[in-house]
Symmetry: C3
Subunit: 422 residues, 3 copies
Amino acid sequence: MDHAKLLFPICRSLTGEGTRKTLNYFEKFNPELNRLKFKSGEKVFDWEIPLEWNINDAYIQNINTGKKYAEFKKNNLHIVGYSIPLNDIFSLDELQSKIYTIKDHPNWIPYVTSYYKKDWGFCLEESVKSNLPKGKYKVYIDSTLKKGSLDLDYALLKGHYKKEILISSYICHPSMANNELSGPLVLNAVLDYIKNKYKNLRFSYRLVLAPETVGTIAFISKFEKDLKKNVICGINLSCVGDERSFSFVKTPYGTTLADDVMRAALVGKENKNEYSFMNRGSDERQYCSPLINLPVCTFSKSLFGKYPEYHTSKDNLELITEKGLKESLDVVTSIIDGFESCLYPIINVKCEPQLGKRNLYQDLSIVKKGKHFGRSTLDVIAYCNGENSIFDISNLTQIPLKEVTSQIEVLKRNSLISDNIK
Amino acid sequence: MDHAKLLFPICRSLTGEGTRKTLNYFEKFNPELNRLKFKSGEKVFDWEIPLEWNINDAYIQNINTGKKYAEFKKNNLHIVGYSIPLNDIFSLDELQSKIYTIKDHPNWIPYVTSYYKKDWGFCLEESVKSNLPKGKYKVYIDSTLKKGSLDLDYALLKGHYKKEILISSYICHPSMANNELSGPLVLNAVLDYIKNKYKNLRFSYRLVLAPETVGTIAFISKFEKDLKKNVICGINLSCVGDERSFSFVKTPYGTTLADDVMRAALVGKENKNEYSFMNRGSDERQYCSPLINLPVCTFSKSLFGKYPEYHTSKDNLELITEKGLKESLDVVTSIIDGFESCLYPIINVKCEPQLGKRNLYQDLSIVKKGKHFGRSTLDVIAYCNGENSIFDISNLTQIPLKEVTSQIEVLKRNSLISDNIK
Amino acid sequence: MDHAKLLFPICRSLTGEGTRKTLNYFEKFNPELNRLKFKSGEKVFDWEIPLEWNINDAYIQNINTGKKYAEFKKNNLHIVGYSIPLNDIFSLDELQSKIYTIKDHPNWIPYVTSYYKKDWGFCLEESVKSNLPKGKYKVYIDSTLKKGSLDLDYALLKGHYKKEILISSYICHPSMANNELSGPLVLNAVLDYIKNKYKNLRFSYRLVLAPETVGTIAFISKFEKDLKKNVICGINLSCVGDERSFSFVKTPYGTTLADDVMRAALVGKENKNEYSFMNRGSDERQYCSPLINLPVCTFSKSLFGKYPEYHTSKDNLELITEKGLKESLDVVTSIIDGFESCLYPIINVKCEPQLGKRNLYQDLSIVKKGKHFGRSTLDVIAYCNGENSIFDISNLTQIPLKEVTSQIEVLKRNSLISDNIK
C-alpha cells in the first residue's frame, strides 16, 4: 500500500512521462526489469504505435465567474485521455457534448479516452455538469501529442527448463487503484517472491508490464516466436486489489493448462467466479487471439466491468486493501510453488504405497466421520499417474492447491514421487 | 399458403396418383426437380418397394337407414392407408374392430395406415363411432393395389465445392397440414431462395421429396456412395408450419456439423427444444442409421408426436400459418447464408485487428452497461481460428447466426477474414 | 442366507485360521477356486506380508467383582484386530485409552484393527465403557502373532476370448454381514451362475477372494502381467447385501468399460448412486492405482462408510437379506449375460431393417401415447454401429441392460446383428 500511495497520483496513459515514471519506480526495486521502447509510427501487427501524449494542465472555466471546473490538477480523470491541446471559448451548449458523466452515479467521474481519433473532452460528476452556470467557457488543455515512444518493462528469470510461466499486467491508466495499480503492485511482489524463495528455478518466468492492448501487442510482436515456443501457462493480473471475490477469465475454450492452474488455485475459496472468454477485457484478448493462441488467463478479484466503481473516480485507494492484494499474491505464489514442486507427479510404486511404515498414516484403522487420517495423501497419490498435472490433481480431488503441493513435497522427500515432465 | 390450399385435399400415400400429382405440382415451379421411379417389388436394402395403391371412394353405409359414414370423399383420413378393395356386408359388431378412433379427442379422426400387411379399416370420430346405429353395414372400398411405382423428386444444385448440404422432406401423407404439407412447402421455398439469391453457389445443395421411410431408403440406396462422400450437413424438414416453438432432433451423438448448424440457427430463439435421437420419427431415422451415418438433423417447429393434433384430422390448414412457414424458411435460409458466407473463418492478422482505423469500432472508449460498441465483431473474431465453423462461432458467442454471418461479411469485405475450408 | 449363518461367527482377519476356514468352505462348493499362499515377510510391491495372527480368547476382567467385559467369545469385534498377546493388570484409568467406542451409538461395538503397529485394544459399547466399575482390571489376550501365511482364493474360467472379466471380493473381516460376508456370498453365487448357464463361455472370468488391501496387492503382484493384458472390465463386490440402494464407485476418471457396464446395469433402478473415486474404500484402491490402472469399479448396495452400521456390530445378519443379495446377484449376472451376448453389436443391413416382415413389429402404424410397439427394438438398433458396447446402448437409450440383451438376442436369431469384437 505504500507503493500504491506513491504511484496513485501519477497520470499514466498509453505513452508519456507518467508511464515512464511508473516503470522507473518499479525498476528501482527490481533491476531484472528491462525497458523496451517502440517509436511512434512503428507497425506492430495490425496496429501502429501512437504519438506520445503528455499533459500539464487542463480545465474549463466560466468566463463570467472565473470558476474552474474539471481541473486536471485536482483529478487526472477529468481530462479525456489523449485530448489534443486547446485554448478556446465555447458556449455551455457547445460544451455539453464534450463532457462525459455517469448518470447512475452523479458524484463519480468517469474514465474516458480517445486514443485513436484526434479529439478532446472532459469528464465530470453528473451533479456538477447539470449545475454548470450558463454562459461562455474557456476550454484549456495544455497537452502535447508528438512523436515519441511507447515504453514497457519485462523480466525473464531463467530456470532449468526453457518452458515459461508468463505473468503480465498493464500500465496505462491514470489515477485508478484496482484497475490498474493493483496489477503492477502484485506483479512486483511476485517478482520479489520468486527471487527470494527460489535460487535455482525449475521453470523460467517472464514478467511483463506494458500499456494495455497496443503495448501488449508490441510486446507479443517482439517475442512472438519465443512466447509460442515456451509459454506453457500465463496469468494476466487485473483488478487484484479488492476483497470481494476471486475471479478468472478462461481461455477461449477453457481447456489449457492455464485454466487448470487458475481453477486449482481457487479450490476451496468461497466467493469465486469462473468467467468465459466472452467476458474478456484485458490483455488476455491479445494473448489468446486466434493466431497467437497462448494459454493465458486473466486473474482478478472483482472482474473488470463487474464492479460498480470500474473505470470511475471511485476506483480509488479505498477500494483496494493490503489484505486484498495479499490474497492475490498468495494465489499467484501458490501457482509458482506448484510449478516449482512437481508439474506431472508420478508415483514410483505399484498399488497404494504403505504410508504407515513411513509414518505418513495413522497406524490404527478407525473410521472418524468416514474419513481416515492420511486420506488426503492417498487421494493425491490416486491421481499421480504422470499425466495429471499438480493442478489437475487439486481439481480432481478438490484439495486446495497449497495442500496438494505440500503433500507432494512430503512424498518427494520419501522418494515416492518423481516429476514426469517431458 | 396458396400452395397449401391447393395441395391439402390431395390423397397422398407411399405410392399412387396423389403423390405423383403433388410432385408434378412442385416440378412446375422448380424444373430442377428430377423424378425418380422405383418399381413395385424392387429391393432397396432390407426393404421391397410396395404395390401401388390408388383409391377412388370408400365409406360404410347402414343398410337400414342408407346413411353413409367415414366417407373418403369428405375426408381422406377416413380410410386406413393401403386398405384393400372391398364390397361386403358386416354387422356393426364385426365392424367395430376395423374402426379406429381417438378416445381422448372424440371429434377428431385419427390417421392410420397398414402398408405392409394386407388389411383394411376406417377412421372415425369417437363421437360418431359410439353412436353408429345397430344393424348391418355395407363396407365399400373402391381401391386398387397393383404393381406400379414409387415416385420421388430430387434436385442437385451444383456449387464450387462438391460437398453438399442435403435438405429433405417427405410426401406420403393425405390431408394433414403440419405433418406433412409444411415440409414440402418450405423445401419448395428454399429451392426458390437458393436459385434467386445465389448465381454462383459455393456449396452444392441436394433437395429431396420422397415418401417417408421406404421412399427415403430407396433414395439413399440409389445415391449411397455420393451421399456418403459429399454430404457434410443435412436437414430434414418435418412439421415446420406452426408457430408454437422451434425444435430439432439431434443426430445419434449430437456432435456433427448438422447439430452445430441447427443449434446455431436457433441461437436467440426463445421457445426452442433440442431433442435427442431417441425422439426421432422422420427420415433422420434412415439418414442416421448406423451403416449410413450421415450428419442429418430433423428440423421442426412443434416436433412430431409432441403436439396433440399430430396424425389427426386436426392437423389441418388452421394449424399452419404463413408466419409459421416463414419462420422455418428463415431458419433454413440463415443456414444456407452461413455456408455460402464462410464455413471456417480465419482471421488474417495477429492479435486483435484495429477496428477503429476501418471504422468498425467506436473511437471513444466509454463503457456503456459493460458493453463496448463493436464488441460483437471482436467476439466473432475471437473465435475465427479456422477450426471453428461459422456455426460454432454462433454457438460459442451466443450471437444469432444471422448476425454472425453479417459480421463475417463485413470482415471479409475488409480483408480481415478468409475461409479456411479444406 | 444359510451360508451366511454358517460363516458369520468365524473370526476372519488378514491372516489366520478364520480366513482359511472361510476359504475352505467356499472351495467345497466351487472346486474351481485355487488357493494361493504368501509367506509372512514376503515383499509384495511396497508392502510386506504381515505375521499370521490367531486368537483364542480375550477379555478384560474387573479384579474386584470378577466380572468380564469385552469378551471375544461373545463377539469377536471386542478385540482390536492383530492385538498382541497380553496377560496383565491395569487400572481403569490406564485402560481407558485402549478401549474404543462409538459415542453416537452407545450400544454398538466398533470394528478396529492395528495391522501394522504392534498394539492391542478392546472395542466396547459406549454404554458399557462409561459404566465400568472403578478398580484394577485383568487384561487377557490369548493371541499369537507368528510367521505364517496370507491365504487367498481365485478361479479362472476360460472362455473363447482371452479377455477377462474380473470379479473380486475380500475376506478379512470378523463378524460383520454387509461388509463383508455379502461380497463373498454373491461372488460364490456368480461362480455357480456362470458354471450352470454357460458351457461355452465367450469371455474368460477371473474371480478373486482375498484379504483386502495387502491380500489384493499380493494377488495383483502375482498376476500383474496377465491382468494388465486381459482384464477389460472388473467389478469388486462390497456391501452387496442390504436393500437400501444400488451404488457404484467409478474408476478415477469414470470413463472405462467398467464404468459403462455399471451404469448400464443400474439403468431403470430407482434408488441408485454413482460415486466418484474420491469415495473409494475397498480393493478398487489397488486395482485402479496409477501404475496398475485396471478398469475396475466397486459395486455396492449401500456404499461402505455411507450407512450408519458400517464397521460396527450392527452390521449383522439383520442388515442383509435374501432379497438384497439376490438383487446384487442379478446386477452381476445381467452384466455377464451382456458380455456373453454381444459386446459390440453391429447391424447387418443399411438403413432401418424392416421389422414387420420378421414379425418383430406391429403391422398397423398407429401411435399410442407417442410410442410405437417395436420401438425399443429400433432404439437398440439405432446405436448398433459396432463401436458402442451393449452397455453403451443401454446407457444411450436408457433401456435396462436386461431388455437390451434380450432385444440383441432376438436380433441375433434373425441374423440382423453380429458382434464387432476385435
